[in-house]
Structure formats: C-alpha cells, structure tokens
C-alpha cells in the first residue's frame, strides 16, 4: 500500500513539475496600407503635422471581406491549437471597460477608478505577435487574382518572425471572397511552418525580450556611479548580471549612458524553478530578479519595475 502511494505521489510530482511556457497571444490586424488605401483612416493634427492613422473600427464595421479572411485565419489557427485574439472583440471590450471605469465610483468615499496617463496609453488592443494582413486585387481584363501578404510581427523585438506572401492564379469566374478564402487556405501551411521555426527557436534559445534601465531625475546616483568592493560602475554590474542570467549569455547592449541602458535581444529562459516546481518565466519575473539584485547589498538601490505585455520591462532606479 505504501509503495503504491509512493509511486502515485512520484508520478503526480513529475506531472506537476513539467510546467508549460507562457503562450504568446496572436491577433490579426489589417495593415496600415490596407486600411488607408481603402479609406478606413482618421486624420489628426499632431502639433501642426497632419497624421493619418488606420480606423480599425470602421474597417471591421464596413468590410465583409476583412471579416471573412480574419474568420478563416482564426479558424485555421484554432485547428492548430492556437486560437487568435479577435481584434474587433478586443476593441469593443476595451470601449466597454473604459465606459464602465468612467461611470464607476467607490460607494463609501466616492473615489473614481485610478488611471494614470501611462495606463491610458497602454490601454490599446495588443498582442504579443501581430499577424499583419494585406491583400490587393489585381485585375487584367476579365481576369482577377489576389496578392496576399501575411506577416507575423513580434510586438517587442519588432522583428518579422513569420511570413507567407504571394499572388494566386488568375481566375475569370471566381469571386473575390472565393479567391481570398483560397489564398488563406494555401498560405496558412507555410505561415504556420515559419511560426513553428520561431517557437522552436524560443524553446532552444529562450524568449527574446527587451529590458530598459532608467533613472528618476531626483536620484542622486546614476549608471556611472561605482559600487561594491571592486568599485565598478553600476552599468557594468548590470551588464554582468545580464550575462550570468540570460540563456547562453545572449543579449545586446544597444544603448548605455549615465541615465539609461537598453538591452535588446535578451534571451530569457522559458522556465524557472520555485519551491521545487518549474514555472513559466516571463519578462516581469526575469526583470524582478534584477530588481531584487539591485535592492540587495551592497547596492541597496530602490527601484520600480514596469512591464509591457510579455516581452518588455523597464526598471526605474532611485525610488518606487
């Protein structure tokens, strides 16, 4: 009986010990080119310069072909175990939440929901990987064909991590929705294949993220201040910590001044161990280790950690 219990316990501990990595969110977004060329755009005056930005809401409300392509893509990706975020629903949900927050107040004190300007900027429809969609219809006499371009863009490294693009065969009779459906069906295989390459790379070399170090302007020290028994500059101390804690020591120090450091292509492990169990690692967790390191002896630097999605974190030195 004791042996059975021991065996069951060890099987369960093995099962629970194998955690899963944090799944990136994917969302199909029509490209700026697609939106603006079809008139789904807004103009605004940015300090004297007229800027044109895509009007996604109107595109979703008025273009049935866009809905068809997104629906088809969502369906095919869901079949591969990777359901996508639906941008139209995200936009609606964000608007509803904003309205509810604006109307809400504390029953006892009458206080309103706290929201800083930064919160407002961050409150956008976002995903870790944006599937940027563009298509155009080519017409030569009665023949029609569709040029289709699907790009997988990593929202944090700004790299194109997956792609599928090309022009379909011209057709005399097929209607546009049929051509679009065929294009999605044809290109999803090659697209998923390049996306799989990216995921394989993640599991082998770690997730690629960005880490920024900044200082509050009221902090008397900076990144050139020396610390510790070796009287080394803080910037180099942080760089050494990065080299020790990234996968295969891989990261690039893109900018380094007395006020700021920017680390790009930082490869963080997919998992970390806590209480004997493996858990999924994200940028916030990784950066919090650096934050703890800087707060501890001999540095004792108070700091504040903020994140943006799964892949970008900033540590502000000097205070919370």
């Amino acid at each position: 009986m004791k042996n059975i219990l021991l065996t069951a316990f060890s099987i369960l501990s093995v099962l629970f010990a194998h955690s899963q990595a944090k799944k990136p969110t994917l969302m199909v977004v029509p490209s700026d080119n697609w939106c603006i060329s079809r008139g789904y755009s807004l103009e605004f005056d940015n300090q004297g310069a007229i800027e044109v930005i895509p009007d996604y809401k109107r595109a979703f409300q008025e273009n049935a072909d866009l809905l068809l392509v997104i629906s088809k893509l969502n369906g095919l990706m869901a079949e591969r175990g990777f359901p996508l975020k639906n941008m139209e629903t995200v936009i609606k949900s964000r608007e509803l939440n904003s309205a509810l927050d604006a109307a809400r107040s504390s029953r006892s004190s009458g206080a309103e929901v706290a929201e800083s300007p930064v919160d407002q900027i961050l409150d956008q429809a976002k995903a870790d990987i944006v599937l940027q969609l563009t298509w155009s219809v080519n017409q030569t006499g009665p023949k029609k064909s569709v040029t289709f371009n699907l790009q997988g863009l990593d929202a944090y490294s700004n790299k194109q991590i997956a792609t599928a693009a090309g022009t379909g065969a011209p057709s005399f009779s097929a209607e546009l929705p049929v051509l679009l459906e065929e294009a999605v069906q044809s290109y999803i295989g090659p697209f998923a294949n390049t996306l799989q390459d990216h995921f394989d790379d993640l599991f082998e070399n770690g997730r690629e993220v960005t880490l920024r170090i900044k200082r509050w302007d009221d902090w008397p020290n900076d990144l050139e201040t020396t610390y510790g028994p070796d009287t080394e500059e803080l910037g180099f101390i942080i760089e050494d910590w990065m080299a020790d804690n990234t996968v295969k020591g891989r990261f690039s120090t893109t900018d380094a001044t007395e006020n700021t450091m920017l680390f790009e292509q930082v490869r963080i492990p997919m998992f970390f161990e806590r209480n004997g169990r493996q858990r999924a690692m994200d940028t916030r967790r990784f950066a919090s280790e650096l934050s703890k390191f800087l707060r501890s002896d001999p540095y004792n630097i108070e700091n504040k950690l903020t994140t943006r999605g799964l892949g970008e974190a900033t540590i502000f030195l000097g205070s919370k």
Partner: protein, 178 residues
C-alpha cells in the same frame, strides 16, 4: 470416368491459374519494393477546401499498370516527408509535415505500421477518377524505356494527416510546449 475428368479439370485449372497467381504475386512484390524505395514525384493539381490537396503522384514501375495502393502510399509519404511543390492553379508550395529529416528513421516502427497493407495511411488519401490514368500521364522512362512513369491523381487530407501525426507524437504541434 467422372473421377478422372474431375482430376483433369483440377490439373488444368492449376496449370492455368498458377502462372497468373505467380505473376500477380511478383507484381505485388515489385510494387512493394518500389514503394519501399519511395521512388516517386509529386505535383500539386489543385487546392481543395478543408485542408485537402489534389496531388498528381508519379510512381515508377516495370509494369504498365501500377497498383493503386502504391500511388496512395507515395502521395502520403510525399506530403509527410517532401512537401508539395508549387504548381498551377494557385498551388502554393507546402512544406513537409515532418520538420525533422530523420524522423522516418527515428520512428521506424510507427511508419512501418502506418504504411503497411491496410495501414492508417488509407484514412488520409483517396483516389480521384477511380485511379484512371490519363494517356499523357503514362510514359516509358529509363534505359531502353524499360520502366513506366505513371501519374495518378489523389486527394490527400493534409489537416487530418497533420493531426494524426501530432497526436501520435511524430511531429510537434504549433501549440506544443505552451
């Protein structure tokens, strides 16, 4: 009298049927050998709905008629290990389902069962035009034209095939690990 007649009929049947049976067995053995060597070429004919592809698979044989099962096995094998090349009518090149080039060797037992007579491969492929070969799809090749290259159009359901290989742990799904 009647016994002798019966024995003679039996003997005649045996004499006529044996070479035919032998020939059939030999043809099957040769076809199996060709299949095991995986000598084939594939062409995309058209993209179907719901993850299926119309593929023309050219198999090689020393006989004029090629067993249908050989073409089916070749088509499924091609989709798994070689991918589908780009073709006319909007056929976009499809990568092979197996991303690891050595998976056939590593999972030998699985693929032996999969491609065995009546194996699972049959669930993912079907003949179009009942296996009829167009006149332009049968031609002699090789030294002295001793071999035939025969093209048969089949439909392969790639989506179902991918799911089968994922669930059997042969290939990784897009979401595996997350």
């Amino acid at each position: 009298m009647s016994k002798t007649l019966f024995q003679s009929v039996l003997l005649l049947l045996f004499l006529f049927a044996t070479p035919e049976l032998m020939a059939q067995k030999r043809a099957k053995r040769l076809a199996d050998e060709d299949t095991q060597n995986w000598r084939y070429e594939i062409q995309c004919v058209n993209v179907g709905r719901q993850g299926s592809y119309l593929i023309k698979v050219y198999s090689f044989s020393r006989r004029k008629h090629i067993p249908e099962e050989q073409s089916k096995k070749n088509a499924v094998h091609g989709v798994i290990f070689k991918g589908i090349p780009a073709g006319d009518r909007g056929c976009v090149a499809q990568p092979p389902l197996a991303r690891n080039a050595n998976v056939e060797e590593e999972k030998r037992a699985y693929f032996d069962d999969f491609f065995a007579e009546g194996g699972k491969y049959m669930k993912f492929v079907s003949l179009t035009t009942d296996g009829a070969v167009a006149a332009t799809d049968r031609f002699r090749v090789g030294r002295n034209g001793r071999e035939y290259k025969i093209g048969i159009v089949v439909t392969v359901n790639i989506d179902l095939l991918r799911k089968e290989l994922e669930s059997a742990g042969i290939i990784r799904g897009l979401s595996s690990g997350f």
